[in-house]
């Protein structure tokens, strides 16, 4: 049962990820990515990490992707941006990129399959014995030996906040003002 769920989720994740990178409509691409996130969240759940699964939905699908859609909706211009995007990207024009990433995939699988040989994964033949890691265990670890990580994460978020405000703020540059006039976005 668990394998079947895993394979369905994995297939959904791969297909929708492929649809994301090949979509022409930005909002459709984003929604495929949301589906990828939900599939990955299901896999986390099957692996016995309910907290990570919940965070994947709350933070990734619920906050980060909504921000993306927010910006896309602001910049979207209907048919015009669709046509522009079709000029910028066609699947037929990206065979080189496809070949390169396929080669990368083969190499990665080759190298990592060697590392994950049965001797190295202490004789369990690579099969999971699923053990749930509770939120409490995680919290004890996080505020015990990993205290520094919390501080680092906080610093990172603060710096991102400040730089995002600085970048996205409308600059009072006279040269630019001439160019744009009163146009808002």
């Amino acid at each position: 049962m668990i394998e079947v769920l895993f394979f369905i989720a994995a297939a959904v994740a791969l297909i929708s990820a492929a649809m994301t990178v090949t979509a022409h409509n930005a909002v459709h691409g984003l929604l495929y990515l949301v589906v990828t996130m939900l599939a990955i969240s299901l896999i986390f759940f099957l692996l016995g990490s309910p907290f990570a699964a919940a965070l994947q939905v709350i933070v990734y699908a619920g906050a980060i992707m909504v921000l993306f859609i927010f910006v896309t909706m602001m910049l979207h211009q209907g048919e015009k941006s669709l046509l522009e995007e079709k000029q910028l990207f066609q699947i037929s024009g990206s065979i080189g990129a496809f070949l390169l990433s396929a080669v990368l995939l083969v190499e990665l699988v080759y190298v990592l399959a060697g590392f994950a040989s049965p001797q190295l994964i202490n004789g369990s033949e690579g099969y999971f014995t699923i053990q749930t890691i509770t939120v409490k265990e995680l919290g004890i670890q996080l505020y015990g030996p990993y205290q520094l990580l919390v501080v680092i994460a906080a610093m990172m978020l603060l710096s991102a906040l400040i730089s995002a405000i600085h970048i996205a703020r409308r600059q009072k540059n006279p040269m630019q003002a001439d160019e744009e006039g009163d146009q808002t976005l």
């Binding site: 907290f51 619920g62 906050a63």
Partner: protein
């Protein structure tokens, strides 16, 4: 055999009964709102169809089902159809973890509160997609407002709920209800309750925080282009949202099904209906704030208060161990 019967009741009959009851409650709360609002405003409200106008809902349903199911030609068709479904599905899923009474709960989930936050963050999509796919200015404006409003108020909702988690020492809703046997959490978490209430109103985008669909400013917001059954789904979804938030307030802060004399299920329904009525009263009593006022209220007032609440609760909980 009795095990089998027990499984059937637990796995199929109870969820279906809950589902049907919720849909009916969602539909009839539209009637309740119109009657009660009319009563408070010295009017009569719908009173023609059936006794007290109770069958008005049926008449509305017939009307809504037989209307033309129109999809605007300029809309993004697939998204336009999916959007109202998402809100219904998400609201229904939210009820899966609510403990209605001992034993009457669809999913006994250890991380119920996290599931709930996930549900509420995914329900933003229905409104954003509705706004985007309608391809109309007012719908887009409404959707943008909603996105910002719901993203912001989710933060305060999560922070307010964390106070409960600290006191009850569990993410499971049934354990939270059991932890309130001696004392309701409204006494332990008064500030958290108000934060959750504000965040809940904003999340279900009801008046006074109904800026996503402010009629006087942006026509009808995200569902401007919707008609017929798809509009009906948004409508029922909104009322289900109100019932969900009321059920959550009851579960988290007012002891859930706990209460003397009466059976637990009745207590739960009574408490939940009280909050549904409270939501309707809010709509009748309070004017809508401006959009920037809403956001400023959230980030400048609710956020510091939520953090303070969390800090004090944690300190209170840790103090005996020092």
């Amino acid at each position: 055999m009795s095990d089998f019967l027990g499984d059937i009741t637990g796995d199929f009959i109870i969820p279906i009964v809950i589902l049907v009851a919720l849909l009916l409650a969602g539909a009839w709360s539209t009637w309740l709102e119109r009657r009660i609002l009319a009563w408070w405003q010295d009017r009569l409200g719908p009173n023609r169809v059936g006794p007290f106008g109770l069958l008005q809902v049926v008449a509305d349903m017939i009307k809504i089902f037989t209307k033309e199911d129109w999809i605007p030609p300029f809309a993004d068709k697939v998204l336009f159809v999916i959007a109202p479904m998402i809100v219904m599905i998400m609201m229904m899923l939210g009820f899966a973890i609510i403990p209605f009474a001992p034993g009457i709960q669809i999913a006994h989930f250890d991380n119920g509160l996290l599931f709930l936050l996930a549900i509420s963050s995914l329900s933003v999509y229905s409104i954003m997609l509705a706004g985007f796919s309608s391809n109309s200015k007012y719908a887009l404006l409404g959707a943008m407002r909603t996105a910002a409003q719901m993203l912001s108020y989710e933060v305060f909702m999560g922070l307010a709920i964390m106070g409960i988690v600290i006191v009850a020492d569990s993410f499971s809703l049934s354990k939270i209800v059991e932890a309130q046997a001696d004392m309701w959490f409204i006494i332990a978490q008064p500030l958290g309750f108000f934060l959750f209430l504000f965040a809940g109103i904003a999340e279900s985008h009801r008046a006074p925080f109904d800026l996503p669909e402010a009629e006087t400013e942006i026509v009808a917001g995200f569902h401007t282009e919707y008609a017929s059954m798809k509009f009906g789904m948004f409508f029922i979804g909104e009322y289900l949202g109100v019932i969900l938030i009321s059920a959550l307030i009851t579960t988290l802060y007012f002891g859930g099904w706990q209460g003397p004399w009466l059976p637990p299920l009745l207590w739960f329904i009574l408490k939940t209906s009280f909050f549904v009525l409270f939501f309707i009263l809010l709509r009748a009593a309070i004017p809508r704030p401006r959009y920037d006022q809403l956001m400023a209220f959230g980030w400048y007032i609710l956020l510091p208060l939520a953090l303070l609440n969390l800090l004090v609760t944690a300190a209170w909980q840790l103090a005996p161990t020092l």
